[in-house]
């Protein structure tokens, strides 16, 4: 059974479609999969990948930098101030951000914002390598 899936960022609605399964990673709870009719749920997300299985069977992957997932019987909404579709990632851009974050960390190891930036860049790099690898198989 399909339900409505929406990715909402502060500036726009990034994605809206029908899906049969959403997999996300919540803070403290590990990976959690939502199917139709899941009981109402609100979770705080880690910087991680969110996968949506569309009604047609396609799997859409998104990278989110924290945020929330809100599930009601008929709808899954992902709220994130930074989210990007894995298919539109740009390796050069991510590498540049990673370098900047690492430089900031080298200057000040306690810089929380730089640490978050690095985690965000690491995630996207891992997804980039992962999706390339799966394409090769």
């Amino acid at each position: 059974m399909a339900f409505q899936v929406e990715f909402v960022s502060p500036e726009a609605i990034l994605y809206s479609g029908e899906g049969t399964q959403v997999i996300a990673r919540t803070r403290g709870g590990g990976e959690i999969a939502f199917l139709a009719g899941h009981e109402p749920f609100i979770g705080s997300l880690t910087t991680s990948e969110v996968r949506v299985t569309e009604s047609g069977g396609n799997v859409q992957s998104f990278c989110v930098r924290g945020g929330f997932v809100s599930v009601s019987g008929t709808k899954v909404t992902v709220l994130s101030d930074q989210a990007v579709a894995s298919s539109s990632l740009d390796r050069d851009e991510v590498m540049a951000e990673l370098a900047a974050a690492e430089a900031a960390l080298a200057a000040n190891a306690d810089d929380q914002f730089a640490a978050q930036d690095k985690a965000w860049a690491d995630l996207r790099l891992a997804i980039l390598s992962g999706s390339n690898a799966s394409a090769a198989h």
Partner: protein, 315 residues
Amino acid sequence: MPGGAERTLRRRIGSVSNTKKITRAMELIAATRVARAQQRARAARPYSEQLTGVIENLAAGGASVDHPLLRQVENAQKVAFVVCAGDRGLAGPFNAAVIRSAEREIQALRNDGGDYVLITVGKKVADYFRFRGFEISESFAGFTDNPSYEDARAVARKVRDLFDSGDVDQVELVYTEFVSIGTQRPVVRRFLPLEDTSTMADAGGGDAEALASYDFEPSPEGVLEDLLPRYVEARLFAALLDSAASEHANRQRAMKAATDNAEELIIKLAREMNRARQASITTEIMEIVAGAESLGDDKGGSGLIELQLAETESV
């Protein structure tokens, strides 16, 4: 000299019509930007609505947390003001109205013995307060006509640093609320501490009771802790977007008024110029008539010259 006046007027008409062209162009640009700014404000709404929705559910679930952002202080002595207006002028009363409200608030606070911390958004605001000798803690500029979420986050981070560290007890946000295309008004809103969650949920106007049975992960308190900073950013972002739309609407109105005034001025000046030209022609004729008459007196009244004069005048 009469010919000189005509020339001066012609030059002024030229410069006024150039000004009119510029103000007309600015009016049209502002008109398209208002539309775009409104569009962006609309696009930003789902996110803040959803956030408020989560808060509603949390409030209904009975989550309460002792979060720094909710720390209420009786009788705040140290208040931060975030004053948002524009980088550029030529927008009617837009900048002045916000600055006036902010200054009034600051004076009132000082009269009560409080102290202020000033954060300015927009070049015009910073210029004014610096000129008047106010102490500015931090000023942001360069994005007021098209703010991004990143800009809002930068301002929010600064505000939260001040508040979290206990440097200020309260934060007020002064900006222009975009009511409609015809109405924008400067407002002073309490920004921090946030009202407690049930008040926020009520303000959101949602029907929380029907949705009360949510599961929370890691816990209601944990979700709220992640959520509040984002709520602060989203509220600031909404204010910046409102302010940007208001700036463009004000500029459009101001430039329309300027274009209309220029048009009126051109008509008035053209009329004056025609009068000056006519006056100079009349004066010349009078001079010739006077000359002819004095000649005629000498020669004993021949009608010949007068006849020629009459012909020139009718041409």
